[in-house]
């Protein structure tokens, strides 16, 4: 399946849930509403034409005004990839866990919470993952994060 075929199929079948974003990339990126995330993910996984059975990655973005969670999915049998982007408010960002669809999301969601401060609902084990166990300095990947020994790159 090519990316163009994927875009056509998603436009025909997922028009209500997925909005194509113009990112300039070859790989399609779709926006999903946070409250629809789990149902859309389940449909993407169980759809016979798509079969997105592989959870590649979960990334976070802090643009300064809003938080974004980017889900990268792939399908082994159909040889396609897609990115889903969930846009969240900057303060009190919350997202549902997709572990019931892909159990592999567990560690990625812990990482997302730990580094970006996006709370993951229904996670089950939202504890420290990469940072030291006694870390108490907040969420270091946020744009406004600061610490006493943090040295910012000077403007050149």
């Amino acid at each position: 399946m090519t990316f163009d075929e994927l875009k056509e199929y998603l436009a025909a079948n997922f028009a209500d849930d997925l909005t194509l974003l113009d990112t300039g990339r070859h790989e399609p990126v779709y926006e999903v509403k946070a409250e629809k995330l789990v149902t859309v993910c389940r449909r993407l996984r169980e759809d016979e034409t798509l079969k997105f059975d592989f959870f590649c990655n979960l990334g976070g973005v802090d643009t300064g005004e809003r938080m974004e969670a980017v889900y990268s999915l792939a399908s082994y049998s159909k040889k396609i990839r897609v990115d889903l982007k969930v846009i969240l408010p900057h303060e009190k960002a919350e997202i549902d866990s997709v572990q019931e669809v892909w159990p592999a999301a567990n560690w990625y969601e812990r990482e997302l919470w730990e580094l970006y401060g996006v709370h993951v609902k229904n996670h089950g084990n939202l504890t420290r993952f990469l940072l030291p166990d006694d870390w108490d300095q907040g969420f270091p990947m946020r744009k406004d994060w600061d610490a006493p020994d943090f040295i910012r790159m000077p403007e050149l």
């Binding site: 940072l131 030291p132 300095q137 270091p140 990947m141 020994d149 943090f150 040295i151």
Partner: protein
């Protein structure tokens, strides 16, 4: 006889016998300098250069340096690679587990001052001299095996110059 020739000038061969006069200090220093067994402690890309130096082309063994997998048997810890804040307590713990006399080589930019992670990094310890006392700094990113060998030879020279009274006080 090779070892005897390398001892300091106050070694003396007696006529008609196998006796050598030297100082205890010279013998201890020689023994320490020529058997720096190092702890395998590679945390990033510097470890690749450390492995390369230990392999046959550069051959650490000719300096009497053999890797040890446990700090209890090691005399030297070569901190090869980035030390993160999460790794720092482990480095201190390994250092504490080593028996005296113990020495530390800071290999590469990361262990000296954070290296490429000096700016904009929340996780990297900016210099391992905050954690353990360092005997020798080897700059580079990562240092070539030649640099590491030269650093180790300099450390050997440093050990040979130490006074017995100095290291007893530590």
């Amino acid at each position: 006889m090779g070892v005897i020739k390398k001892l300091p000038i106050y070694s003396e061969k007696l006529p008609g016998g196998g006796l050598v006069l030297t100082s205890l200090e010279a013998v201890i220093n020689q023994a320490q300098a020529k058997s720096m067994w190092y702890l395998l402690f590679g945390t990033a890309c510097c470890a690749i250069e450390l492995m390369c130096t230990g392999a046959s082309r550069y051959d650490f063994d000719r300096l009497g340096m053999i890797f040890r997998a446990t700090p209890r048997q090691a005399d030297l810890i070569i901190a090869a690679g980035t030390i993160t804040k999460k790794m720092a307590p482990r480095l201190r713990r390994l250092y504490d587990q080593m028996a005296e006399p113990r020495r530390v080589i800071a290999m590469g930019g990361c262990t000296i001052k954070g290296g490429p992670f000096y700016y904009d990094s929340y996780s990297v310890e900016k210099g391992i001299d905050h954690i353990v006392p360092v005997d020798m700094y080897i700059p580079g990113c990562p240092p070539r095996p030649e640099s590491l060998l030269e650093g180790c030879i300099h450390l050997q020279e440093k050990i040979k110059k130490q006074k017995l009274s100095d290291w007893q006080e530590k």
